[in-house]
């Protein structure tokens, strides 16, 4: 089924990370998510947007709203053309980082949403799709 709504935001600067947070909050509020769930979605989006910027050298977030069987789902897909992740399993473990971060971004954001899918190949960029239903 095609999404009810679909838009793509560029993540090129730190301001864009703030902008993705605001846009996700706005859409989560519009769809009627509870405050805690809004906060979880926005926080996960913030982690993944920063990853796309810092590790992927910039990328995009595609925001989609789906309605299936009376449930409304907010889906966010973060894509970058960066170096990719060599060891996806390790990258999902808390404390694993190849940069200066805490290593909580991927594993942590997985815990904040109900659907999480990560596709990455060394040299082939990274795509992370998260979703949560109202």
């Amino acid at each position: 089924m095609p999404p009810l709504h679909r838009e793509t935001l560029a993540i090129v600067t730190e301001q864009d990370v703030v902008r993705t947070r605001h846009r996700v909050r706005q859409e989560a509020v519009r769809l009627g998510f509870k405050l805690v769930d809004q906060t979880k979605l926005v926080t996960a989006a913030s982690e993944l947007a920063r990853n796309a910027l810092v590790y992927g050298g910039g990328g995009t977030m595609t925001l989609e709203t789906h309605a299936d069987g009376g449930r409304t789902t907010l889906q966010l897909t973060f894509e970058d053309d960066g170096p990719g992740i060599a060891d996806v399993e390790a990258a999902l473990e808390d404390g694993y980082t190849t940069g200066a971060g805490l290593g909580l971004g991927l594993g942590g954001s997985r815990r904040l949403v109900s659907e999480f899918e990560l596709v990455s190949h060394p040299g082939g960029g990274t795509r992370v799709r998260i979703a949560r239903s109202v």
Partner: protein
């Protein structure tokens, strides 16, 4: 949407305590700027305590969480104690699920209690504590 560009976060001096109220959604550079300014201000004013009011923050992700932890560590090295106060319940729930427990940071429910804690007066019992929103 981008009113926070070039904004600075004010640091107020109250006796020997510095009060920082974060009311904007900080981009990463602004968080780092705050870290630098606050540490300089601790030395300049010889403050013994720092109260960081985050009641205006709707999101604390791992970057901001780490910034708060680092600030507390830096302040401690400079002989100042840090209290983070006013965290929204939804932010607290999200932080813990994210995996951040803000080690080494003292917390208070609001700025008044944060200041009392630093002045050595144990915070008075909080009548509102029983009415805190429950986790879903």
């Amino acid at each position: 949407m981008s009113r926070e560009i070039n904004e600075r976060i004010p640091v107020l001096k109250l006796g020997d305590i510095l009060l920082v109220t974060i009311q904007v959604d900080m981009h990463d550079q602004l968080a780092l700027t705050l870290q630098n300014e606050l540490t300089e201000k601790i030395v300049e004013t010889q403050a013994h305590g720092v109260v960081i009011d985050i009641s205006g923050l709707e999101v604390v992700d791992s970057f901001i969480g780490r910034m708060l932890s680092n600030l507390a560590s830096m302040a401690r090295v400079l002989d100042a104690e840090t209290v983070v106060c006013g965290m929204q319940p939804a932010v607290a729930i999200t932080l813990v699920e994210l995996g951040l427990s803000l080690p080494g940071i003292r917390t208070a429910l609001n700025a008044e209690q944060g200041i009392a804690l630093l002045q050595g007066h144990p915070a008075a019992p909080v009548e509102a504590r029983g009415h805190a929103p429950a986790a879903p």
